[in-house]
Symmetry: C2
Subunit: 230 residues, 2 copies
DNA sequence: AAAATTAATTATGAATTCAGAATTCATGTC
DNA sequence: GACATGAATTCTGAATTCATAATTAATTTT
């Protein structure tokens, strides 16, 4: 009945709403750490930066608040959500459960090419580790996790994961720059890649789950070392 | 340093932003099924209904789109997200993983009172089943799952769960009105309650996981029976 | 001089206005 | 009579404006 309109909607060039673009740009600023945690958002400043009026910016802020990236304070604007140690302790088990499920589904659904790509990246991770190239290590690590999420072909899972991951992204980034347990993490990644290649869903699930929980310990340790714990 | 202002912020009466209130009201309308899936949202209609201007309504719509409850179509407004069978097949494993984790954490963290309350509700569920009281059964079922989520004391988990649950809420409601596997579900609920009382986190995890996956089968069957499958 | 009260400024909340796109309806053509 | 073209209407997108709350600055009082 309304089918044609939907198909047209797909085919037609359609500029996304300005608010959505602003939301993406603002999300990027927050995730990249350009806007620090706890920082107050100045509408005027951002409207000038993005060259838009307050209306789309405020709509974008509402979207990010729904994602948990910022907190709206009535009549007092918004602040960038700050992640406490307690928040990380709550968030990582959720991330672990979601990535575990992603691994299980990826083990069943991923194409051979996707698995080969993950295996290749796992090898790259190993090399970055041996070279001691931290930024590269961090980047590849991200890519592997993204590849698994992508390979599970579950949009709802991807969305849920992104929502939680966004809240802890900065903390993870911080941790990889201060302290790591590279040796162990590289081994775990190899096991995960192997489990996926063997299509062992349950194993991939538990390995990813454990991997994420181990990462929590690492992140918490890094934060206490860095002293930036709150 | 800024502590006092935060404390003041907590203590002070602060009316939530109108957009947030509108979002809550609109969310309710959608979850209660008053606005059907696929239905087009008419801004004018809703502004008149809520007695607000378009600005807060549009901000609320942006929030709900971030939650996945509605879909924004550039220059063409928004529609209530419709949940296909495929969506349910993707969403339920996520729900299962999240509720499994909730059960595991609840087994560790819940107070004895909370567990007793869950046990009591599980008994009520049994009675509603024997009486054949469907609405009551559905309501208690909801309450039990909410109680477990609440007992796990993990705000991030609760938030993630709510986001996914919202998308399948209508489908589950529909299913409970058409077809059920009450007998089995009641048994499963008893097992879950017992596992929680015994503080067996892993068992509660897997039981809740399986329970949710069984529910998926039931919901899918109900939808094909009802013919409202798309 | 310190604290408190009040005035001024600034920022946010929400309605309105203006601009542009999509839909609908009417007219004309084949 | 069906389809296409074009005008009118309606709806959405975004900027502006108005109102109100919060913050800062200034003045007064102790």
């Amino acid at each position: 009945m309304e089918d044609s309109s939907q198909i047209r909607g797909q085919l037609m060039i359609s500029r996304p709403a300005l608010a959505v673009e602003v939301a993406n740009a603002l999300r990027e600023l927050i995730l990249e750490g350009e806007l620090a945690s706890g920082e107050k958002i100045r509408e005027k400043e951002l409207t000038e930066r993005f060259g838009v009026s307050r209306t789309p910016l405020r709509e974008a802020m509402k979207m990010l608040s729904s994602e948990g990236l910022i907190e709206l304070i009535p009549n007092r604007g918004a602040i960038i959500s700050q992640t406490s140690d307690e928040d990380l302790i709550e968030a990582f088990p959720v991330l672990a459960a979601l990535e575990g499920l992603a691994g299980a589904q990826a083990a069943k659904r991923a194409t051979d090419d996707e698995l080969a790509e993950i295996a290749r990246m796992t090898q790259d991770l190993h090399e970055a580790f041996e070279k001691g190239d931290r930024p590269q290590y961090f980047a590849i690590n991200q890519m592997i996790h993204n590849a698994i999420l992508s390979a599970c072909r579950n949009p709802i899972l991807q969305r849920s994961h992104a929502a939680v991951a966004g809240q802890v992204h900065r903390a993870r980034y911080q941790a990889n720059h201060v302290s790591t347990r590279w040796q162990q993490a590289v081994i775990e990644h190899k096991q995960i890649s192997d489990a996926l290649n063997d299509r062992r869903a349950d194993l991939a699930n538990s390995l990813l789950n454990q991997h994420m929980m181990a990462k929590l310990s690492s992140v918490l340790r890094a934060r206490t070392e860095a002293g930036s714990n709150n």
